[in-house]
Each structure stands twice: as structure tokens, then as C-alpha cells.
Symmetry: C2
Subunit: 132 residues, 2 copies
DNA sequence: TATAAATAGCGAGAGAATTCGCCAATTGTG
DNA sequence: CACAATTGGCGAATTCTCTCGCTATTTATA
């Protein structure tokens, strides 16, 4: 028997998506160059990955221009949310808060970032009050 | 050519680790039963996975008792940190704060959780002050 | 417009992640 | 002790991910 396909983008797919998230649109060549900063693979590989990702509907392709332009099918945010949701269940025992706290302790946050977080907490609390 | 092995535990591996994180130690049979709540696989599969995970040093095995007892080689926290670090780079463009904020908006947080987060932000801010 | 260069598509291949069946070793039971 | 049940191990089969080579098509250039 065999395993079922993972629902999350794979490593290489994520590398490609990152390029698309950063640039909006890009040709296969451009994607290859940018991904290649970290990975040394053949141009064919990138093209093939793009065609696989097209099948999986992870990217969209604009054929009306040449060379074709690719763009991500889902935003960075949306993809991140999906992956976080998954990780909360699989590693953090269902606690998004535990995950958030641990993420915060990864790196020293700047004062501005801390302020931003505080503002967000205020908003969340307001929502709680409204709900009561 | 081929791809390199992922550094993060796979799906099934995480399912097994979760059992071990929850229970501390467990026999192959126990692990199988508990994992099986969500997955329907053969006992052989679980045993095989455990032997693979032993090779990868994801779990430890106590052979002095029968049946053998398994336990996770790394804590939930440590594994989570590693995976979050990875995700911050691969999806959140290096921003742990962005990841944390998005995690918070996944589910409505309780007032207690919000308070806990606030306390943590206070601590982080103190550290910043100390560093100046 | 020939010819070179780049783009696009496909099939095949290596290796990773799972899956199980089968057998040996160990333990439990009458 | 004989026999049944459980545990543990291994190889093989399957599917997925990622890799590239080869070829056709399209575009750019002399």
C-alpha cells in the first residue's frame, strides 16, 4: 500500500512560492534564478516543478504572454494559516497560544514588534468582551 | 538524482511522537493502539516506523525490559522550536513575530491566555531594556 | 530567412516515506 | 514441556518528491 499525499506544500514548492510571493509574478527562468540562490538544480527541474504545482493548483499560469508568467494561487498569509493550523494540531497539542508564545521566544523581538503584539492582544480582548 | 531527506519529522513520525510526548514511554503495541485512533494501519507498520525512527534517532528504546519501551529523543518543545524556526524562514519571510500574530488569530484566545501573552511581552520588553 | 538561443513539455529514474506480509524470537498458558 | 499468542525484524511493494536528459516549439539574431 502507499501513503497519501501531504496537504501542505513541500520544501521545493515552498521555495518557489516564496519567490512568487515576493515578486507577484515571474517567468520560469526568473523563478529558477531566484530559487537557485540556495538550490543548485537544473532549469528543467524548475519547469517540471512548476508543471506539477500547476496540476496541484498551487500556482496559476498566464499563457497569454511569452514567456508564460506564474503566480501563486494562494497568498503567503493563507498558506501560512493553513500550515500553522496543521502544526498546532500535530505538534502543539491544539494550542495556538502555546505555538505563538514559543514563536515569540525564537528571536528577540523589537520594541515596535512588541507594541504591535500588544495592540493585537487588545483587539482580541475586545472581541472577548463583545462576546460576553 | 534525488532529493535529500527532510530535516523535520514526517507526518506519521509526528503522530508517534505525539503519543510519546503525551505518555512519556510506551510499548510498540501501546503506540500502535493510540496512533490507530486516527490512522488505520497494521501493527507491523508501527513497528517498522519505530525502527526507522530509531535509526534517525528520533526515539530511544529501552531494551532492558520486555516488551521494549520507546520514548521521544527530543521534547515536544524542542521539536516545536525547530519546526517553527524552519517555518519562519520558509513561509514567514524570517519574521517570528508575524508568525506569532497569525497563530494568535487562528482561534479565539481566552482571557487567561491573553494575560499570559501580555506577561510574556513584558518579559521580552524587559530584556530589551536590559540590553540597551 | 537561416541559425542560434531560450522556453516548454515529457518520460524516466533515484530515493524517501509508508505500507504490509512473513518469519523468528520471546513470552504466556494449560 | 507443548502450544498459542505476542513481539520484533526485515524485505518487498507502492506512491510521492525531486531530479534530469532529450526533443519540440517559440523567439531572437545575424
Amino acid at each position: 500500500m502507499a501513503r497519501r499525499t501531504s496537504q501542505q506544500p513541500t520544501e521545493v514548492e515552498l521555495a518557489i512560492l516564496n519567490v512568487l510571493w515576493d515578486r507577484g509574478q515571474a517567468t520560469a527562468r526568473q523563478i529558477h534564478e531566484l530559487v537557485g540562490v540556495q538550490r543548485e538544480t537544473n532549469y528543467s527541474t524548475t519547469v517540471k516543478m512548476l508543471s506539477i504545482m500547476l496540476e496541484k493548483e498551487l500556482v496559476k499560469r498566464d499563457d497569454s504572454v511569452r514567456p508564460q508568467l506564474f503566480q501563486a494561487a494562494f497568498s503567503r498569509k493563507r498558506t501560512g494559516t493553513k500550515m500553522l493550523r496543521d502544526m498546532v494540531e500535530k505538534v502543539f497539542d491544539g494550542s495556538a497560544t502555546a505555538l505563538a508564545m514559543q514563536a515569540l521566544s525564537l528571536k528577540r523581538a523589537s520594541s515596535a514588534e512588541i507594541a504591535e503584539m500588544r495592540a493585537m492582544l487588545d483587539k482580541l480582548e475586545e472581541q472577548n468582551d463583545d462576546a460576553i
